[in-house]
Structures are given as C-alpha cells and as structure tokens.
Symmetry: D2
Subunit: 220 residues, 4 copies
C-alpha cells in the first residue's frame, strides 16, 4: 500500500494512475493540478505526468516531503535534467519517456540480439491512431537507435490503434517478426507503479525504466 | 488428365507448371523455349508464361492446333491484346497477370466490401523479397484500384519473402486486417491448372482469372 | 443530436455509451439502474445493456414514451424475444448480441465468401483476456456458423487482450488471414449509436445489427 | 569454396543442399544414396540428412577421409549419439535436429528473456501444412522447454504452410508476439552451410547449431 502524490492529477494519465493504484489500496495523499492543491498526508513518492513547466515546483515538493520522484513528463530540456539530477542526490528519481515494460523488454532484446541479424534484412512498421502527429513515433526511433544498424520505418496512421511496433528480420529462408502492442494506457500505469515500488527500495540516485526492468522480479 | 503445351518450358514458371501438372497425370505434349521445340501430340490447351515477343507465335500455334490458350505473360501492349482478342473468337483464351486464387478472392472482397469501410481509415502493407525492383507491387496497385477509395501503401523489401499483401481498416474502436501470403510459386501453378480446366469447358471467348474464380466449384 | 434513455446507466457499457454519445452533443434524458430513476424529457430511443430481468420493464418504458429500442442484453430467452417482437409492432426494435460493425462485416464476408475456400483448409484463432470464462467465444461460434463448413477453433486466454478473432484459410500455395481486433468498448458504442440513428428512421419493425450495417452509408 | 560430401544426396534436403551450395561455387565431391556412390575427391566435410540406419557408415566415411561431419538426421538413439561422440574426438561434429538460424535465435531469446515475462500470461501457436503428423511440432516443444515456464500450445494444420511458430506474452496493458516463419527448406540449407563453415575452423569436438550461432559473425 503506497502513499503517493500526483502532479497533473486531472490529466488523462493522472486519472488512470489514480484508478489503477487504487485497485491495490494505494492512497493518493497529495494532488496538484491547474487550480488544485490537496494535501492529506506525507507522500512516499511523487508521480508527475504533467508538463516541463511544472518540473521546478515538483522538485521543490519532493524536497519538502523528502519523497521519491517518478516522472514521465516529455519534452524535457537540459535545465530540467539538471534539476532532476540534483534532486537525485537526496532522493531516488526515476525518469523515463516511456513506462511500458514491454517496450523496455523489446529495446533490450533488440540491443542484445540485433548482431545475430547482421546478415538479415530488417524493417520496422509502427501503427498508431489518426490523431498522432509525429512520424515515426518517438518509440520507433528509440527502438531503432537501440540496434546497431540502419532500418527503414513505415508509419501507418489509422483509426484508434493505441500503439503497435513491429520489427521484421528476414533472410532468404526465414523471417522473425517481433510485435509490441500497447492495449491501453494501462501499459504505462503498470510501469509507473513498478517504478514507484522500485524507488521506495532506494536511498537516492537517478534511474530510468531500464533499471526498474532489471529489478522487476524483486519488486513483484 | 490434360494434354497441354508449354511455351517457355524451361523458365521457372514453366518447370513449376510441368512439375505440378504431372502430379495429376497430365502430359506435356508440346514444348517450346529458346532453341527448343518438342511436339508429341496435339495439345488441348497451350500455356504461355514467357515474353511479349512470343505472343504472335503462340497465337499461331493455338490456331494450328485449335487449342485453348492460358497466358500469364506480363507487360503486354495493345497489339498483343488485339491478337489475343482475335484468337478468342475461335478458341477460349484466359489472360491474367496474376493466377493466384487468393489474390482474385481478395480483389473481389475489397471491391464488394470497401464501401462498408467508408468511415474507417485504410492502409496497405506489402512485403516482398529484396530482389523485387518495383514498389508498390503490381498486385498492390491492382488491389487498391479494386477499391473505391484512396489508401497509402507501405512497401517493405526484405529477405526471401515470396509475397505478402495486408489491407488494414481501422476506426476508433476496432481494426480489420486481411493478409494474403503467397507461400511459393505453387500459388500460381494451381491457378494455371484451374484456368486450363476452365478453358476446356468453353467453345471460345476471352476470359480472365476472375471468370475462372466464379467457376471453381464446377471445375474442381 | 439524440435524446435518449439509458437502462443500466451505471454499468460499464452504460457509462461508455453516455461518454461516447455526449461527444456528439446527444442528451441522456432518461436514466434507470438499480436504485436510480431520472426522467428529464421524452427519449426518442431507449438503450438497454442491462440484464434479462429488466426486459419487461424496458418494454413498458418504450411503450409509455413511444420510443424506439436498442437492446444489447445477452442471454435472452424465448419469452424475452416474444416481448420484443410484440413491441416491434408499434416501435422500431434493434436487438443484437454484438454491436461491433467490424464483426458484422466479417460475418457477412465469411457467409458470402466461404464457398470460394471450399478446397482450402480453414481454422480460427480467438484471443481474449484471462478473465473470459467461456471458450470458444460466442462471437467465434457465430462466425463459424456463418460459414457453410467445419473449422477447428483455438482459444487463447492471455493478459488484457480485449478481443481478437482470426480466420485462416490455406491451400498448398497460399494463405488468407482475416483478423478482427476490438480495441476497446468503443467498438460497441459506435455500433449502438449507429443502431439508434437507424431506428429513428423507421416506423416500427424488428431489426438486428445486420440490418443497421446495410444502412450505414445512409445514416452516416 | 567447399569440397563436401553428401549422404542422402537424392533426398529433398540433399538436392536442396547441393543446389544452394553450388550457388557459392562449392563442389560436391562425394555422394551416397540408396544404390549410389560417387567419389571424385576428398571431402572437407560430410553432410548427412538421411536416416539413423546410415549413421554407422557415415561415421566410417568421416574417419576414412578425416573429414568433419554435419548431421541433421532425426530420431537418433543413444547408440548413434555414442558413435558421434567418439567420432568427435578426432574430427569436428555438428549435430542438430534443426538447422534454422532463426529458430536458434528464438530459442536463445526465450531462454534468456522469459523471466522478464514472469508476471505475463504466455501462449504459443504453431501452424504447419496439413501433411504434418505430429502436434505440437518438435520445434514448439523445444522452444517451450527453453523457457522456464508452462505455456499452452495451439497447433493448427492447414494447407501448405511451411512452418510458423508464434509466442505470445500479454499482461493487462500490453502484448508482445514473436513469430518465426520458415519460408522454405532454404531456412535449413543456409544453416547447414553455416555449420560446414564453422566445422572447418575446428580441430575436433562435438557441437550443436547453438555453437554455430555464436560464431556466425566470425564465419560470415
């Protein structure tokens, strides 16, 4: 049972996190959003999925409560990373752009296995809903850079597909396809809770979800 | 049991056709290729998977034997179609660029069903081996033109994939994917034999594989 | 803009329907659930995704308001169907166990096209989350019975997969796979609204979602 | 350029091996099959894809020529393994039931990564042509035993599918699917040549295709 705080509590991720965490009996003891502050108790960990503008204040809140931080805010710049690094000297900080366990596994797989496919052709296909603006997806680019090779990426934007990434390797006689499919925001809220549990076991330090992945069997 | 003739007998399709037909006890009674002519008996049907240059002579051979023609030669021009049309007044002619039954079914499906997807997004992905020069594939373009709609096509060229076409439709809540996969040249030789059997039941006329498809349950 | 009533307003489908309909400006003017009745205005159509026990009262409500009915309640018996048939003499009734447009399209496709696959082998794979109790799924059985053939069905129960049905046809040289994937309850709420719009264009009569499908291009 | 010998030279694998090897300029200097012996030169490596009955004589041939052995014969018993072990003291022996590089990679992946999926559900689907007698496939069983977990396996037998294995992992929010598809016997002949090249770099010893996999980047 966690006592946690939520920055961006009214956003889509904020509400999903609260809904998922409450299924474990966790209690949200601190909430912040535009025009909203609620403080009921001291949070063990602060969770922030809001905007870069909020980082400075989030850091101050963690310092005040001496609480860990799990932050998934995107589009951070150098100054934000510096603030988070400083904070990580006193409390544990888990920062990632993607809290999906499956994507973390896939990235690791591609990094460790792509050399076996040196003599195979490769390609990537990523499919997302028609509201997604960027192509290729940030995740596709991250997966590609985990491999020590070039690779064409086809981006497809259709309907309501939440997020699908497929890596294809093929030689003259066989094909291996690895597909990750995020079914819903649940893909990320599970990872956020994993990160929070991971952080509670640390004194301080700067971590990413890759570190959380390696500790999953101890946490769960 | 068919008695058939083979133009382009030493090409890849020629040899596959002979191998497949012989498994039914069919006999190749006439063979032609560069530097090769064999005539053992009167063929009921001539099969030509060679080159546009051969069309005139193939037509003359059909006239001489009064035999049906199944022709899968690609890159025909107006003059070739005229010769074939003329021939079809006296014997049955089945002409198609693709003798895959599955592709014929898929084309018909897309033609008849695409209006149900008017409010869905669509996309096509086609995957072929790395030796294929054109993109999108001729089949992808044919499938697209069977639908009454635009559709982006992603072409992937990897390894030894024989030929794979996937059409994806998606709306906000669901997805339908239809994939055709040709496993080997066998996809085409089956269709060639279907076309030959179909032709034997006709007096004359110009047909495509779409006509063969509609008669399959009578032939087989 | 619809004025509609909702039976089972607090259930998962009820809340999803209200959320989806409101994005079109539709107004829920009548609500009923255990311990709840709200009546603000006369609904044009009543939507019921609750339980068989509620059917008799739902029918009475439709009669009182002279409103159409869209009903997706499962496990109805003969007596329920009789009540709905009687009601359909005075108002339009759309009854279906599955309001997914994609599943309705797939069912029609399989019904109309399975004879083309008479000489192909067939199989079905359906994948659902690990909470699903029945196997094969009701949808898999419905799809199978739409085809004029036998077909083995493999049922896989893993994680949080919302609902996936794949029909595979294969002959010696090629394969066609058709996959329907429901991404979320949205697959059904879209269909429910289609059915409501369809019903508003009718005087009376008993309809299923198959009828709605055939009118989609007129409605939307 | 290899000088190799072929036991079972007239079988399907034998002819495929000869066809594939010849595309590299390799020369088959020794051939054996029922009623056939050809000896043109001393082979560097003997390749045997025939039957268990042939093992004793194959071992004698390797000893006579002091040549390496690559053996893919299935259904070996203890006595055969003992003969091969003895031979491996003087020459390199590569023995495997499956020479597909992709399957070797997949097996290693599953072995090393399955613990990351401890909290996910798992399932396997394998699809093969309708002539395949055993189910699940030997490869499916091998892949399953590489993982430290139970896993239901669905076996589908349709048409001419050469061989397809899919492992699915799913939790409440995401899914990872890994599919290996053998496109043709080429999947194996590539591996056989890899194994032959690997063996030429060794003095002696008993190896499997897993060892070949780890040396691929040095060989190729």
């Amino acid at each position: 049972m966690l006592r946690y705080g939520l920055i961006g509590a009214n956003g889509k991720m904020g509400r999903e996190i609260e809904s998922y965490f409450s299924s474990f009996g966790d209690v949200c003891v601190f909430k912040k959003d535009v025009g909203l502050i609620e403080e009921h108790d001291t949070p063990q960990v602060i969770i922030d999925f809001s905007s870069p503008d909020a980082v400075a204040e989030t850091v101050a809140i963690c310092e005040k409560f001496n609480s860990a931080l799990v932050i998934g805010t995107t589009a951070l710049d150098e100054s934000h990373f510096e603030m988070l690094q400083n904070l990580s000297e006193s409390v544990p900080v888990v920062q990632s752009y993607n809290f999906s366990t499956g994507i973390a596994i896939l990235k690791k797989m591609l990094k460790e296995y792509s050399h076996y496919f040196d003599n195979w052709d490769g390609a990537m296909v990523e499919i997302h809903h028609n509201q997604k603006k960027d192509a290729p997806s940030g995740t596709a680019k991250m997966l590609k850079s985990a491999m020590n090779r070039g690779l064409p990426i086809s981006s497809i934007r259709v309907g309501g597909v939440f997020g699908e990434h497929t890596v294809i390797f093929s030689n003259a006689g066989e094909t291996i396809e690895i597909t990750h499919r995020a079914l819903s925001r649940r893909a990320f809220t599970i990872g956020v809770r994993n990160a929070a549990l991971f952080a509670l076991g640390k004194q301080n330090g700067y971590y990413t979800y890759d570190d959380v992945l390696e500790s999953l069997n101890e946490i769960l």
